[in-house]
Structure formats: C-alpha cells, structure tokens
C-alpha cells in the first residue's frame, strides 16, 4: 500500500507543477458557468424594429405606439419607403420591419382591408418565428381595440412552464456542464496521463515495480478524481450562487450518480490509453470521441429531439446523455430513483462493460 501512496503523491505533485494545465482544469468550469449563464441563451428580447410608414395617420401612429409600449421591441428607425430595408437587415441593424401601406386609416374607415406587412429576419429560424409571433400578437390585441365592429374569435393560450417556471435557459446547463467537466477530467486527463507514462518510458518502470496494474491505474487517476469532484461541486455552488439554479432533489443521489458517470468516463480514458502510445493521439481521440459527443449529442445545448433520427440513436450511446437526464431530473424536478432507475441502469451497465473492457485491455498490453 505504501507503494500506492508513493504513486499518488508523485501524481499529485505532477498535477500541481504543471500550472498551466491545472489552471485550465480549474478555470474552465468556472468560466463556463458564467458563459452559459449569460451567453448561451435563446431568449428573444429587445427586438430591433424598423417601421415603414409612408403616410402616417392616426391608425398607424396608434399601432406604432402599441409596439413601442410592448417592451419587447425597440423601434430603431422610421422610414418612408422600403428601399433602405435590405441594407438594414443585412447589417443586422434591424431584426424585423413593419410596413404600412398608405391610406391605412382610410381603408379601415371604408371597410376595406388595411394592409400591413411584417418582415422578420429568419436567418435564425426560431428567433424569426418568435419575433413574428410577438409582432402579430401586439397587432392582434391592438386590433381588438380598434373603433370598428368587434368580431372574430380569439383563442387565448394560457401557458405554464413546468419544472422551470422562468423557462430560463440558465437552469438547464448545469447538468450538461457537470458532464462536460467530468468528461474532461476523468476521460481526457486519464488518457493523457497514462499515455504520457508510456511515451516517456516510465510506464515500464512502473510495471516492473511491485505495483499491481490496478494500483497503477488507481494511483495515477485518483488525484484527477479529486480535482474532478472539486470542479463539479464548484460548478454547482457557483451556479446556485450566481444564477440561483435550483437543486430540488437529493444531493447524495446526485453525487452518487456523478460517481457512476465518473467511472464510465474513467474506463473510457483507460481504454483510449490502451490503444495508443502517443499523447497527441490520445488527446485527439479523447476530444473527438468523448468531448465532442458530450457537448453536441448529449442534449446539453441542443435538444436531442431536434436531431435527425440517426443522431438520436447515436446519442443513446453517449454516456453523458443519460447523466444529463438524471441530473436534470434530480435538480429541476426533484425526482428520485423511482423515476430515474432506467437511466441509472443504463449508466451502470455502461460502467460495467467499459470497466471490464478497460481492465482486460490493460492486462493484454502487459503480455
């Protein structure tokens, strides 16, 4: 056991001395919490609007006032003609435009359709559709107040958002971020640290020593586990303090599931290291094989339901996807094992299979 201790100490020293890597490991999660909280959002607010009103009259002015009053919009410019619009859209100066036709009020008075055109920048489809809706709903409620015969029907949607009442994007990223951080630390760092020993040739020295193979792995990896756990706790604490992200469920369950996920990532890291002697290859493989899928296919940022079928199936193979479901369930819904047992089972299964494969591959390389 003292041999194991020695290895642990050496590994810890190694981490502490490589200040740049350590800085990245600790700083990245911290920064990402801030970024995700303030930047990765899809909320639509403060829409820049252009108004084209060739012949302003009381009706158009009324409508314009309503739009301004609805704080969603900011009228950036009022024009007489549509010509400058193209340029305004292309530079991104405006996101939407409302074009009145001349004689608006007259038409209303005479019982003819008073036309107006709502142009939205649909480069980003969802923003475009959301803005369209906002504009239309303002116009619709203004229309109801128009001094003409009231008619028509209106179905009024009353929306409630469950489990995330403010529907704020920021409540969602913490589980994904945890998975991300843990993947970097448990998988990437493990792969790197093991291949580094191989590259420098010191792995042979370790294998020849009285240390058993499992002790070598534990010794090299345990310090990173600690760093990983600390990082994750840091992420949760920071998210709660800065963004008030909820944590409704059981903390011990969350940590336990986290541990399970760590085991899976670790096994992956060991497997990667077993396949190559070069740090560079290990790092590239880890980045492509685990980091990228974790960020993209786990439902962390992009909803899995939106992806083409193929990718949806593929995402089932990504451990992070299951962990994200579990963590979100615990944090946002406050659910326990009763609802999450399936996902936990999948994760456990992955852990067993991967650990077995990792152990076997490690032994094979010794022979």
């Amino acid at each position: 056991m003292t041999a194991l201790w020695g290895l642990l100490r050496k590994e810890a020293l190694h981490i502490l001395r490589d200040r740049r890597t350590l800085a990245v490991l600790l700083l990245l999660p911290v920064l990402q919490v801030v970024i995700f909280g303030y930047a990765i959002r899809t909320d639509v607010e403060d829409v820049r609007l252009a108004i084209v009103d060739p012949a302003p009259d009381f009706a158009t002015l009324r409508l314009r006032a309503r739009l301004t009053a609805a704080h969603v919009f900011r009228v950036v410019t009022v024009l007489r003609e549509t010509e400058p619009l193209e340029r305004l859209f292309q530079t991104g100066t405006v996101q939407a435009a409302l074009v009145f036709e001349p004689g608006f009020a007259d038409d209303l008075g005479r019982g003819l359709p008073a036309r107006l055109l709502v142009i939205t920048d649909t480069t980003e489809p969802n923003t475009g559709v959301t803005i369209q809706n906002h504009v239309l709903s303002v116009v619709q409620s203004a229309a109801r107040e128009m001094p003409t015969r009231a008619g028509g029907v209106q179905i009024v949607p009353q929306a409630r958002l469950r489990f995330n009442p403010t529907a704020e994007s920021k409540n969602l990223f913490v589980p994904g971020l945890m998975a991300f951080v843990l993947t970097i630390i448990s998988c990437l760092m493990t792969a790197i640290t093991l291949t580094r020993e191989k590259e420098t040739g010191t792995m042979e020295a370790l294998l020849v020593s009285p240390l058993r193979p499992w002790q070598i792995i534990v010794g090299k990896v345990a310090p990173y586990l600690l760093v990983g756990f600390a990082s994750v706790i840091g992420v949760i604490v920071e998210a709660r303090l800065v963004f008030d992200v909820p944590l409704r469920g059981s903390v011990p369950l969350l940590l336990a599931e986290g541990l399970l996920f760590i085991l899976v990532s670790l096994a992956l890291g060991v497997l990667i290291s077993a396949r190559t002697d070069s740090q560079r290859v290990a790092m590239t493989a880890a980045l492509l094989g685990t980091m990228l899928p974790t960020m993209i296919l786990s439902g962390f940022i992009f909803p899995v339901e939106s992806m083409p079928r193929v990718l949806q199936y593929l995402s089932n193979v990504v451990p992070a996807k299951w962990f994200v479901i579990i963590a979100r369930g615990i944090m946002l819904k406050g659910t326990g094992l009763a609802y999450l047992w399936q996902e936990t089972l999948v994760l456990s299964g992955m852990a067993l299979v991967l650990l077995g494969a990792a152990a076997r591959s490690f032994h094979e390389r010794l022979e």
Binding site: R20, T21, V24, Q32, I35, Y38, A39, R41, T42, E45, D46, F89, T91, D107, G109, A114, L116, I119, T120, D121, T122, T123, E124, P125, N126, T127, V129, T130, S137, V139, A143, R144, M146, R149, G151, G152, V153, Q154, P157, A159, R160, R162, F163, N164, A167, E168, S278, Q279, R280, V281, I296, L297, I301, P303, E305, S306, M307, V310, L311, K333
Partner: protein, 384 residues
C-alpha cells in the same frame, strides 16, 4: 524572402508527412461539419402531446386535429384525464399537455374568446418556448378560421403571401408576414456558415499552437533560433502553409455544405474568402501567442482548447448574440470569431456586400494587426 519560402516548403512537407495532422486538417473538419450541422439544431418536431379535452365539440376536436396535422406535435392522447396527463409530464412521456375547458365552443361563439391551457415541460428551456410559439401560431390560425365561421372577423392573419380572406365589407387589418432569408426555416442553413467558421478557427489556432510547441519539445526550434532568420521571417514561414490550408478547408467545407445541405450562397464568395483570409491571420496569430506561453504540446492543446471553447461559445455560433445579456454582448465585440461569424452569415445567407460587412471587416483587420504584432513581439529567439 527566399528564406521564408525555404522554411515554408519544409513546413508543408511536415504536414503532408504526418498522418495525424493530415487527418486533423482534412478528414476531421468535414466529418465535424456533417455531424454538427445536423446535430446543432433547435428545430422542434413531433413533440409528444397529450390533449385533455373537456369540451368534446367540433371546435375542440378541430383544434386537436390542427395540432396533430401540423407536424410539430405528435398527439398521443386526444382525451386523456388530467391525472394521466400530469403523470405523463412527470415521467417525460409527454412534453406538452393541452387542456381545452368545458365551454370552449360556447364561449367562442358568445363572447369571442376562450382560454386553452398549455402546460409544457420546460426542462429543456429553449425547446419549451419554441413549442409554445408553434402552438400559439396554430391557435392563432385556427382562431382566424373559426372566426370566419362563427363570427365575422375583424382581424385576419395571413401567413406568407396568402390572399386576404373574403369578407363582407368588414373593416379589418390584414397583416401578412414574410420571412427574409432562410425562408424555408432550415436550421442547417443557419448553422453551416457558423460551423465553417469554427472549423477554420480550429485549424488556424490549434495547428499553429501545436506546431511551435512541438518544435520546442523536439529541440528543432533552438536550431532555428541560432540561424540569422529573423522573427518576422520565421513566423511568416510557419504561418503561411497553415494559412493556405485554412482557406483550402474553407473551400472544401463550402463545397460540402453546398452538396450535402444545399446551403444558399447569395453573396460574393470572393468577399467571403477575403474576409476569411484576414480572419485566419488572427486565428493563426492567437495560436502563435499561445505557443509562446507553453512548453509542451499537451499544454498547447489544452490552452488552445480552453481559449477556443470560450471564443466559440461567445461568438453567436450556437446561440444568437442578440439573446445574450447586454454586457455579454459588449464583451463579445472583443471576440474576433464573432465578427467572422457575422460576416459569413451576412454574406452567405443574406447576400450582403462589402458595404454591409464593412464594420466587422475593419474590426477584423484591426485584430489582425494587433495580434500579429503581439505574436512577433512575444516570440524571442534569445532568452533573457
């Protein structure tokens, strides 16, 4: 000048002979492009929905049918009980529960309005808002339809460029909507320019950082430092092949984007490549700066990964800049990636010309000058 070419040629040989680098440069970007563009989407389809219908009239059934027919919703249950629906929501079987109250049709006919409750699982945040948007649109359209039947309508909504509904001399506001750019609302068209930027950035920054870090590790850097080659010459020679490679990759990516996703290319490709040329200088210079601060390749990769992660997330690539909090938006002005993303989207999707992208382009030029000078400055042939 000749000296630069000699070293540049050697660099090209290095790249061509290193299989890992070649893969990184040619294969990985294209694969990433294909996967990412398909995955990085917020489009909503087939949202599992439960309908709790207390009214059971033709109006309420009509609503359910419209929802089901839209393609955005998959109506699993048309007349569930409230408990069933709630359970489904909790379990995750349903994402949306639509509750139609008892006197739905009656209220519509008599008073002209009736509520419908929409409860959506907001675990996935952004998706919830969008689901509500789609639902809202369907409700509004259905309102217009019903209005023509039940009560002569004041207000009609036309989607796209449809003709206004025939009235009987009723005054009404006829609002038509039109989407400019990406009218098919294809999320992939939105993502391709952005992902292309990401790829080019990766190549530029990662490869240049790794490159010099590797020479440091191997000791070949020392040999170069001992020669009369100046800093500027050295840097030019190192970056030139990568610069060309970056532009090449952009071309490949554009080709793939056109072939696989049919991405529109409304603006001038020449303008895009010119912007890319300037942008690449910035990306390369940043990689170089990183390499002056690290000792090993591993550190180079790590720091680059860190820097790029932050840059890419704050660039408006995945989520719009307009959705960021205001101070974040200001911070993103300092991000060269943001400006190139803006330019590439404006040129490719909106058909913008030089005048429209002049501002971000000038900013990029500024960045190029600053980062390159910094990089040359920081690179030392002689340790103090």
């Amino acid at each position: 000048m000749r000296r630069i070419l000699f070293l540049a040629r050697a660099e090209v040989l290095h790249i061509v002979r290193d299989r890992t680098t070649l893969a990184q440069v040619l294969v990985v970007p294209i694969v990433q492009l294909l996967v990412l563009v398909n995955a990085a989407t917020f489009v909503i389809r087939d949202t599992p929905t439960y309908v709790v219908d207390y009214d059971r009239t033709s109006a309420s059934r009509g609503l359910t049918n419209r929802l089901a027919a839209s393609g955005h919703f998959r109506v699993l249950e048309r007349s569930a009980s409230l408990t069933q629906a709630n359970d489904a929501l909790l379990e995750g079987t349903a994402t949306l529960v639509v509750t139609i109250p008892r006197d739905f049709e009656k209220s519509l006919t008599r008073e002209g309005r009736a509520p419908v409750q929409l409860v959506v699982n907001a675990e996935k945040g952004s998706a919830a808002g969008i689901v509500l948007n789609y639902a809202g649109q369907i409700l509004a359209r259905y309102s217009a339809e019903l209005g023509r039947e039940l009560r002569p309508s004041l207000f009609t909504i036309g989607m796209g460029t449809s003709e206004p509904a025939p009235g009987r001399g009723n005054p009404r506001i006829d609002a038509r909507t039109r989407g400019w750019y990406n009218a098919t609302l294809d999320y992939r068209h939105y993502m391709v320019p952005g992902i292309l930027v990401a790829l080019v950035t990766l190549i530029g920054t990662l490869l240049s950082a790794q490159n010099i870090a590797r020479e440091k590790e191997l000791g070949t850097l020392e040999q170069l430092n001992v020669t009369p080659l100046t800093r500027a010459q050295f840097i030019a020679a190192k970056l030139l092949p990568l610069w060309v490679l970056g532009l090449l990759d952009l071309g490949l990516g554009l080709l793939a984007g056109k072939l696989v996703f049919d991405v529109p290319m409304r603006g001038s490709l020449l303008l895009l490549f010119a912007a890319a040329a300037i942008y690449l200088l910035v990306a390369l210079a940043i990689g170089l700066l990183i390499s002056t601060g690290v000792d090993t390749q591993q550190q180079a990769m790590f720091v680059t990964f860190f820097v790029l992660n932050v840059y890419l997330l704050l660039s408006g690539l995945f989520t719009p800049i307009d959705s960021m909090s205001p101070w974040m938006q200001a911070v993103s002005q300092l991000n060269p990636v943001r400006h190139f993303v803006t330019i590439s989207r404006a040129v490719l999707i909106k058909g913008a010309g030089l005048a429209e992208v002049a501002q971000p382009l000038v900013i990029l030029c500024g960045f190029a000058v600053v980062t390159l000078s910094l990089a040359v400055q920081r690179y030392r042939k002689r340790t103090a």
